[in-house]
């Protein structure tokens, strides 16, 4: 059964899109990630114009983050003040990102930059994840205890000025790195169509030393607002959010996520992370190969709309 995507301007098989959404939803539920960094490359592999894939990916992340954010809000495991400061940076970053996005599109380098960014991020994150989980597996095999992270350790981040008190996180921290982190993630949201949790969460834990208990809730808080904002601005400037595509992905995604969560609880953490690392690396590798092999046609065409149809 085919369905016509009015914004991407092509007909697709609805079951492939449903399958994609469900699979990514399943993985995102299993690993507790938003899934934007998998959805966008998959859509590109399925010949959805990258412009549409990125904008629609941001929209999909809104849906996949809502239920998580709600439960963290109920449990009170989020730092509102910290989230708001992150959000200030995030909205500014998303605005800058949209500007960069439109400019890259005008000069015809958007597809390349999107692919390059994905190769770099997926490659780095995938390798780190794989290496970390392999180390953890080896440790578990030798029955060594997990190395404990000593709190109270200070790094350069904690010597910056403009300090603010974040009661919930029990932190006295400069606003500069928080806003900067939000800004960087905001740019990634609009250029890559990701929520950015896979970068934000480690950065908050290791760089800003924010307590793990509030990290996920706070990052989800920021992600929802930034992806929602990006969706609206993408729709208003590039007309590139495909509501039909997004709806199919979201519905399949949230259902898949429910089952992913259940499976995820039964599997062991290190094995899960090793699997996710491998998957992320594979997607990055596929994109890298597409950049390097000689294309079938050196010429491409764009007419008013998105890409060569």
């Amino acid at each position: 059964m085919t369905v016509y995507l009015p914004i991407a301007e092509l007909s697709v098989n609805i079951f492939i899109i449903l399958g994609m959404g469900a699979a990514v939803g399943f993985l995102s539920g299993m690993f507790g990630v938003g899934g934007g960094f998998l959805i966008t490359p998959l859509l590109i592999f399925y010949n959805i114009p990258p412009v549409v894939a990125v904008a629609t990916g941001a929209n999909q992340v809104v849906a996949s983050s809502v239920s998580g954010a709600i439960s963290h809000f109920r449990r009170g495991t989020l730092d509102m003040k910290l989230g708001t400061v992150l959000l200030v940076g995030g909205l500014a970053g998303a605005s800058a990102g949209i500007w960069i996005f439109s400019w890259l599109r005008k000069v015809g380098q958007l597809d390349l930059i999107i692919s390059l960014l994905y190769v770099v991020f997926l490659g780095t994150i995938g390798s780190l994840m794989l290496a970390e989980s392999l180390r953890a597996m080896r440790r578990a095999a030798r029955n060594e205890p997990m190395p404990l992270r000593r709190p109270g350790q200070h790094n350069w981040v904690h010597r910056l000025p403009l300090k603010m008190r974040f009661k919930k996180s029990k932190l006295y921290l400069s606003a500069i790195p928080v806003v900067a982190l939000g800004f960087g993630i905001g740019i990634l949201t609009s250029v890559m169509g990701v929520g950015g949790g896979f970068i934000m969460v480690p950065a908050m834990i290791y760089l800003l030393r924010i307590p793990t208990s509030v990290v996920v809730g706070t990052s989800l808080f920021q992600i929802i607002f930034v992806t929602a904002y990006t969706t609206i601005v993408q729709a208003a400037t590039n007309y590139s959010v495909d509501i039909v595509l997004a709806t199919i992905l979201m519905v399949a995604g949230v259902i898949g996520a429910q089952y992913g969560v259940r499976v995820g609880q039964k599997l062991r953490g290190e094995q899960l992370r090793a699997l996710l690392g491998l998957l992320v690396l594979a997607v990055g590798l596929r994109l890298a190969v597409d950049l390097v092999i000689t294309p079938a046609d050196l010429y491409s065409l764009s007419v008013g709309g998105f890409a060569s149809r």
Binding site: Y4, S11, N59, V62, A246, L291, Y299, V303, S308
Partner: protein
């Protein structure tokens, strides 16, 4: 003798009057023909509107035409040729060329052509190149290889532009947006012809123009045109319109759908 000659002409006139040339065709005579009696050309299309529904797989458009006052002798020896084209809405098109830069293929050069038809479908009695010389075809803009492709702005190397033009035509042909059928026009009677044009599944919406060109001994003597509207229908059109005319509201709806989907799932699948 008289009656025999009259029958096809009468039939043609009758058909023309009977109205399948229903949207009035503008008459554009081009140069006086050599014969004292002026030929006439009427065309009509099988439909004046094509709807793109969600399961649109492309469509066929039939263009009928009637030749009146045709010269018997010229008809008999096949000196009349008909070319029918369907031109899509015009827009600027950019062709980009990739080059290997540090091992990665990236777009390095681009040429933008002004106001080229997004789709172009052509049918003719025989290959257009056999009907007319390339110079005249280019002047008239008839035929795939003779569409005006003029670059916007300064382009340094004229030779490179030729490459880009060729690439443009090749890409358009391979995407199905440009098509040609050099046997697509058939005379069903000495003065009646029928042309079948294929509209691909990815045909752009907007106003298309069907052109019919009548050649006599290789000279263009008459030209007719009829508009054809291609519209997206139903939900697709509503969505496209909303996305382009009310982008802010459209974006808000997208976010709302996402919030409701995410929230709905968390309510539906709540464990307690």
């Amino acid at each position: 003798m008289m009656t025999i000659r009259l029958i096809p002409c009468l039939a043609a006139l009758l058909l023309a009057i009977l109205g399948w040339a229903e949207p009035a065709a503008a008459q554009v005579p081009i140069g006086p023909g050599p014969s004292p009696v002026r030929e006439g050309l009427e065309i009509g299309t099988s439909t004046s509107e094509i709807a793109i529904t969600s399961d649109f797989r492309g469509a066929d458009l039939t263009v009928f035409g009637a030749l009146t006052n045709a010269d018997e002798l010229f008809l008999a020896i096949g000196q009349y040729d008909v070319v029918v084209t369907l031109e899509g809405p015009r827009d600027a098109a950019t062709v980009r060329r990739k080059e290997r830069v540090f091992g990665i293929w990236m777009n390095t050069q681009s040429v933008t052509f002004e106001q080229v038809p997004e789709s172009y479908s052509m049918a003719s009695t025989r290959p257009v190149e056999d009907i007319q010389g390339p110079t005249s075809l280019t002047r008239m803009g008839v035929g795939l290889d003779h569409l005006a492709l003029s670059p916007i702005g300064y382009v340094g190397n004229a030779l490179a532009v030729a490459d880009f033009r060729e690439a443009y035509r090749r890409l358009k042909l391979s995407s199905g947006l440009y098509q040609r059928d050099s046997a697509g026009v058939r005379f069903v009677s000495p003065s009646l012809f029928r042309a079948t044009l294929r509209l691909p599944a990815n045909v752009p919406d907007g106003v298309h123009v069907a052109h019919a060109y009548l050649f006599k001994s290789g000279e263009l003597i008459l030209q007719r045109e009829l508009p054809l509207r291609v519209v997206k229908t139903g939900l697709e059109q509503t969505i496209t319109d909303a996305a382009h005319q009310q982008p802010l509201a459209y974006g808000l709806v997208c976010v709302l759908v996402a919030l409701v989907t995410g929230w709905g799932a968390s309510v539906l699948f709540r464990k307690d």
